[in-house]
Symmetry: C2
Subunit: 387 residues, 2 copies
Amino acid sequence: MTDLLLRGGRPWGLGSPADLLIGDGLIKQVGPDLPQGDAQVIDVSGQLLLPGLVEAHCHLDKTLYGGAWVPHSADDTLAGRIGNDLGRRAELGVPSVERITALLRTMSSFGTTHVRTHTDVDPAVGLRGIEAVLSAAETVPVEVQQVAFPQHGVLTNPGTFELLEEAAKSGVFAIGGLDPAGIDRDPVRHLDLIFGLAGRYGTHLDLHLHDGGSLGAWELELIIERTAALGLGGRVTVSHAYALGQIDEAQQDRLAQGLAAAGVALATAAVYSFPVPPVKRMRAAGVTVACGHDGIRDLWGPYGSGDMLERAMHLAYRSTFRRDEDIELALEAATYGGARALGLSGYGLAAGCAADLVAVPSSTAAEAVVTHPSRTLVMKSGLVLHN
Amino acid sequence: MTDLLLRGGRPWGLGSPADLLIGDGLIKQVGPDLPQGDAQVIDVSGQLLLPGLVEAHCHLDKTLYGGAWVPHSADDTLAGRIGNDLGRRAELGVPSVERITALLRTMSSFGTTHVRTHTDVDPAVGLRGIEAVLSAAETVPVEVQQVAFPQHGVLTNPGTFELLEEAAKSGVFAIGGLDPAGIDRDPVRHLDLIFGLAGRYGTHLDLHLHDGGSLGAWELELIIERTAALGLGGRVTVSHAYALGQIDEAQQDRLAQGLAAAGVALATAAVYSFPVPPVKRMRAAGVTVACGHDGIRDLWGPYGSGDMLERAMHLAYRSTFRRDEDIELALEAATYGGARALGLSGYGLAAGCAADLVAVPSSTAAEAVVTHPSRTLVMKSGLVLHN
């Protein structure tokens, strides 16, 4: 295939315009005024170039995206939302390959190139969600990692652990967890079970932790201890981690040091009015912070567009980031931070990286987050998807 | 001018499709299958019709909208933002008729038909902001109410009170106020001064109240007492009222009853992570709740699009509204609630109302808020601005 020469763009972080030579799915060369040679030129003059956006936390299997509007039907309690989800999945045909495909296509059109999705695994749905996401992902140029997710508990939902193990055996990327104390009522046993699976099958681990305040903070300590003891650094993510937004700054710093030292990443979605981990403080301590939507148009809530620049805006906004350098931390979470949490290699805008990128007509990265404008170019593995 | 017949739309709240006959700037008739007569037909089949959107709290005079991206340059303190604002206004040409006009045009394109804006009045800028907003408003089909706003205090900024009085004499719609305790250090004197002006000159009153917790709650009591004593019910709005989001439910209910009885409205913007008044609880008690953007692309922060459907989404999202009936409360704030706070008459979708309306391709009002799609029709005073 002919090489492509992206002419005159402004790669984020480079400081000056540069051309990118694309070939064999890779960024072959980056520099000013590259010779055209046999390459086909794509003019991206004045455009800001970002690496492919990374959706680090969503629930593709639950989505109703692309169908008619479904008014939310649960009451205001967590139990109500769980019951609503279990009760209406069949009626609404969830999980649906068609809906998942529609959402993945939208994500891709916004420049998302990598997705980590938490897929329900429980005795009611079995591994059907995993299979539906696999089928959908085959047809859209986005790399999808699945987390086998015990949405309704492990210990409290008999048969779930065995299904998680089956998912691990069948090659799922990560094992999930859920509020070891708040939902599963036995944090030590919950964590030992899922860390055991991750260690045994060589998967990543990505836990939902909504448990707040000192309880959630203590569970983070348990997670840090196990990650360090089992040598799983770089393979463990805690999603949401509301507790980090509810404790004092001294405690935040102590946990940040622990997370950074053990190699535990955070994924945040900045949804509703729920607490957001202190992104700037976490990054200053060297903690990897990733960003995702959480649910998109599903039985848990009707919000979400699939646009990771818009989601980064929500993260920056809830973090009260006003200055460009701060707003860029949210974009970092939606790009490089997500890539680190997902364990991606060859990610970025340097020569040798995969040619996954997106162009926007923004003067700065912060402006791209705040206005999340239409994408002028989306490229995955060197293929132009949208221009 | 020829009458217009909007055919087949779904007026919000009506329950079934209806035609609207528009003439002389008014909605003349609403009903199914209206006869065409001499009217020109506009097909809005399947579209949801909303009354014109009401932006109840913004700062047009400060905006940098439509110009190049200006990275935010203040530090993270309130004092830093105030200093940044005062220091850079001249350099950036604020207030700018051109910038204000650009923002008003964008607001109008999104279907906003009424705007209340808080315009800085102080010895440094004098009444130039008021004049700039007046000039811009003359050229855009949006009705603009100005609040003479003492951004840098009344008591703490000598000369400001006299300028507020001058603004009142010259016909400004409302007198503003700002944190009578937190900024101006003497809540009783601050409130007596501005309530005195409003009473004397027959203006509305619209106070910024960021003061939180029990201090802000107590200031709300002072405001309720004065509104009742002076018979200013229906003419007083408290903007932001963060304190209402920080006190317990019993206190919220007690203040809600006081606000409703006295006829004090609330305006909220749901910005950043700042507290949001409990909208559902306030509405249940009969308190008028309005919604606005607060600053849009200015020296105080870089966010804001001018789209009131998107802003209603932020309000619904921060309120953790998931069900349609709840999300509609946010839209109510961006329409009828705003209209009540602004004291508009002839507002709505009934026969006899001003023909200010907007059409969206949404199946429900909640969907319109969540997805805030492109407008398919915007009409102001019977004139089609966008179709």
